[in-house]
């Protein structure tokens, strides 16, 4: 059910958050990103991520990736591929620089496992989770679980998050898993041409429930690719932008949270 834990990242421990502000003056900002959908097929988006991690993140206390960092993830043996090894090594530089990295699963990369967390120096975050940062209690979620009207998807989600189903899948040979993932990706792209009904956005019910259970006055999530700041009955809801610099008009950005508040910022 409701999950919550006190975070002890390198950066956070230094700043004394989120332990209800023990040393509030030491506070460098938290950066939040999501929905990068990284793969070798989108080199400009990958380059933007490399810049973000190696340059932009320097100012941060902690970096939170709230799901869908990768286009898909079919098991930590993907780390054997040079591209993913490079991405993992890049993220590992954060902890070496004293910046904490937190990673939450998205609906595409929910199989990111312990080996991946170790290779990146990241701490895995359950979805949803509440943290306290700069005096504000914030619920973090990927966002897919908030789209409660999409019954078909929620059914798939429950199956996909089933540990036994996951273990069976992970026992498949790598090339079978890759073939299935590629097939699903192609199919989902093929089916993506549409006008979408608003029901595929988060619902008022899903949002209200999260505010209540997390006892939070802010929510940060991604998933919907509709970046915005919404004033909800329970508080403020920040929707992170997806990143896409290879097709169409470049999109991307991050949310910065510090003592001065929340700010949505474009990529450098």
């Amino acid at each position: 059910m409701w999950q919550e834990k006190v975070l002890h990242g390198l950066g956070m421990a230094a700043a004394g958050v989120p332990g209800e502000g023990k040393r509030p003056h030491a506070a460098r900002p938290f950066f939040f990103i999501s929905d990068l959908h990284l793969s070798e097929a989108i080199p400009r988006t990958v380059a933007a991520f490399e810049h973000f991690i190696s340059v932009t993140a320097d100012q941060a206390d902690s970096v939170f990736i709230l799901g869908d960092l990768f286009e898909y993830w079919i098991g930590d043996d993907m780390l054997a591929e040079p591209f993913f090894a490079r991405m993992a090594a890049l993220m590992h530089t954060l902890s070496e620089r004293g910046i904490a990295l937190y990673i939450m699963h998205g609906n595409r990369d929910f199989l990111l496992g312990k080996r991946f967390m170790k290779a990146t120096g990241a701490i895995w975050l359950p979805d949803p989770i509440a943290i306290t940062a700069f005096g504000t209690r914030i619920a973090l979620a990927h966002g897919d679980a908030l789209c409660t009207d999409d019954r078909g998807y929620q059914f798939f989600r429950r199956f996909a998050r089933n540990r036994l189903a996951q273990l069976l899948f992970l026992a498949w040979p790598f090339r079978w898993r890759r073939a299935l993932a590629e097939r699903m990706r192609r199919k989902s792209e093929a089916g993506r041409e549409r006008p979408a009904l608003p029901k595929y956005d988060v619902t008022a019910k899903g949002v209200a429930t999260l505010f209540k259970r997390a006892r939070a006055n802010a929510i940060i999530h991604g998933h919907t690719h509709r970046p915005a700041r919404h004033q909800e009955p329970g508080g403020t809801r920040w929707v992170l932008p997806d990143w896409e610099l290879d097709h169409g008009k470049p999109r991307g950005g991050y949310l910065r949270v510090d003592a001065e508040g929340f700010r949505m910022l474009p990529l450098d």
């Binding site: 509709r226 169409g248 999109r251």
Partner: protein, 164 residues
């Protein structure tokens, strides 16, 4: 004018080349090439819209030509009986797939030149055969492969023809 001859009857469309010149030219090009002949309405949601023009029966996707500029900022509204271009998240990605609104779908209209606000480009309306559209919107649907809202029995555009 264009007629879509479906296995449920004929839908007659009046295209608005004045308000949506590029979209209309693109649509007519596909009609004249015979692209739509044998395609299906593959996504049917009662109370929303019926979408077609991209798949053959059996959910086989057809190759298309280059995507076009989104003309959703032309003032035409996604109201019941209007026809508009389907597209991906990228506003300027429409190629062959179109949809016919079966309700007033204000949230699909252009509101701002941003990825969220671009909306869907209306380029014409049904002038005859709205009863055919209503028959199609009510067919039984299910999931096929990874696609949802696919008619259980194929709704086929047997041919699309230009009427002078």
């Amino acid at each position: 004018m264009v007629e879509l001859h479906t296995n449920h009857g004929v839908i007659k469309l009046e295209l608005n080349a004045e308000k949506a010149p590029k979209t209309v030219a693109n649509f007519l090009n596909y009609v004249k090439n015979g692209h739509y002949d044998g395609t299906v309405f593959h996504r049917v949601i009662d109370g929303f819209m019926i979408q077609g023009g991209g798949f053959e029966a059996g959910m086989k996707q057809k190759p298309t030509e280059a995507p076009i500029e989104n003309e959703a900022n032309n003032g035409l509204k996604n109201e019941r009986g209007s026809i508009a271009m389907a597209r991906t998240n990228d506003p300027h990605s429409a190629s062959a797939q179109f949809f016919i609104n079966v309700a007033d779908n204000d949230f699909l209209n252009h509101s701002s030149p941003t990825p969220q606000g671009w909306g869907y480009a209306v380029f014409g309306k049904v002038v005859e055969g709205l009863d055919v559209v209503d028959k199609i919107k009510s067919v039984k649907t299910g999931s096929k492969g990874f696609h949802q809202d696919v008619p259980v029995d194929d709704v086929v555009i047997e041919k699309a023809v230009v009427i002078e």
